[in-house]
């Protein structure tokens, strides 16, 4: 499997070149083009495993209920993946500790990658106002995720704060808690920062430069009501 991310960072797309019989799993709706002999199998779970429960869990993360598995038969083939919002994509090769991906940032992964939904607890989800459901990816192999805007990594060594709307993914070696941004709750709420994610430990957090929620809040009032 060869992954090339093109048209970065504004209009990125991931080109996945597959050997005959090799598969890639992607979020429903992510495919934008593919070779004619690529077979698509749609399931509610990881290829050859999983359950409807996994699918329902994935639905609450803001991801599609369905996963598509793309396999070229009778020769090598390719699949392009894209996303709705403009922004960057990146490839991460899992080999050791797993990573947590914010619901909505997952694009695709190799079949050798295990996928599980982590329920972040009612408090964390409710108060953050974000889909603080996370997809835990572990095992071996490449993963593709996307962002709204550019992606910048932060090497955390100690504590670091990231606005909940700016998290793309992070290494599971990090602990995190949803907390106030400033010294006081009042400041955090009045200052419009609301709740943020405080990471603790050692590991990488990938942030997206822009917050889709903020963009929606700016554009939304200009749109007419649905008739």
């Amino acid at each position: 499997m060869q992954i090339d991310i093109t048209h970065r960072p504004g209009n990125s797309a991931a080109k996945v070149s597959l050997e005959s019989g090799e598969s890639i799993t992607a979020e429903g709706g992510a495919m934008i083009a593919m070779s004619g002999h690529v077979q698509v199998e749609t399931t509610t779970h990881k290829k050859d495993s999983g359950s409807i429960l996994g699918a329902l869990k994935r639905l609450v993360t803001g991801e599609s209920l369905f996963l598509n598995h793309f396999t070229p038969n009778g020769g090598p083939g390719e699949v392009f993946f894209g996303t709705a919002l403009s922004g960057d994509m990146m490839q991460y090769d899992l080999n050791g500790p797993g990573i947590m991906v914010q619901g909505g940032s997952y694009v695709a992964s190799a079949p050798s990658v295990d996928m599980d939904i982590q329920w972040q607890g009612l408090g964390k989800t409710f108060f953050s106002g974000e889909s603080m459901f996370l997809i835990r990816l572990s095992g071996q192999g490449p993963v593709i995720f996307n962002s709204f805007g550019a992606i910048y990594p932060i090497e955390v060594n100690g504590d670091y704060i990231v606005d909940t709307g700016h998290i793309v993914a992070f290494e599971e070696t990090l602990n995190y808690e949803i907390t106030k941004a400033g010294g006081s709750w009042l400041s955090s709420i009045l200052g419009g920062e609301g709740l943020v994610c405080k990471f603790r430990g050692q590991g990488t957090v990938w942030c997206q430069s822009h917050n889709a929620g903020s963009f929606g809040a700016a554009l939304g009032p200009m749109l007419k009501a649905r008739g």
Binding site: A150, G158, H166, G183, S187, G192, C207, M222
Partner: protein, 220 residues
């Protein structure tokens, strides 16, 4: 203070490295990530009444956040505007600059934000009845949806409505038809802003209201 604008013209964001004792001020919700030991305090945007005026008239937030480094080494805060687009700086050294409502992102503590009546002409130009002014000493970061185009005007210059981001205060704004009646309404340009004077203006290459106007007829 070391600062840099990253992300290119489409996804510009600001890295601010604060030395011990330094402060940077940013609009509400501009912080995307920061060192956890920076102090963040929400304060009225220049006093209660002034803050109210800026919030309701100038398209800015009632509160701004003060990020202060009370540690003994350099700390980073990353700031960004709400829409994708470019970000630029203005270095103020006593002069004033006018900003479109909502364009302000952040500033150093020596900068004061004000609100001024911009007039009905400005409202027709879809730039708001009031304009935001920045003055004093220091750096201002501002931005808009789209790329930013800087232009030195000497005489007259015409900018499409909702594309003017910033201009020097001596520039006079007038609203007019883009061309004759026919071309103005059938050519899709409608009203435009005519700027007169000698000074710098900044234009955004896209506009959020333009995007909304494109989406709206397609909603059903």
């Amino acid at each position: 203070m070391q600062t840099s604008i990253e992300g290119g013209s489409a996804f510009a964001y600001i890295n601010v490295d604060l030395e011990p004792g330094e402060t940077v001020i940013a609009e509400s919700d501009a912080m995307s990530s920061m060192s956890s030991d920076l102090d963040m305090d929400a304060k009225f945007n220049g006093g209660f009444f002034s803050g109210l005026a800026k919030a309701y008239l100038g398209g800015e937030s009632l509160f701004v956040n003060h990020f202060t480094n009370n540690t003994s080494s350099t700390r980073r805060v990353t700031l960004v505007q709400g829409t994708p687009g470019n970000t630029r700086t203005i270095e103020l050294n006593g002069q004033e600059f006018c900003l479109q409502p909502g364009a302000y992102i952040a500033s150093t503590p020596g900068v004061s934000l004000g609100i001024k009546w911009a007039g009905l002409k400005s409202w027709f130009a879809r730039e708001g009845l009031f304009k935001l002014t920045v003055s004093g000493q220091g750096t201002v970061w501002y931005g808009a949806y789209g790329g930013l185009l800087e232009k030195e005007v000497d005489g007259e210059y015409i900018v499409d409505t909702s594309h003017l981001v910033a201009y020097e205060p001596q520039m006079k704004l007038n609203i007019q038809l883009a061309g004759g009646l026919f071309s103005s309404f059938f050519g899709g340009e409608g009203f435009v802003t005519r700027l007169e004077g000698k000074g710098k203006i900044v234009i955004q290459t896209r506009s959020l209201s333009g995007l909304a106007d494109w989406i709206n007829p397609r909603l059903w």
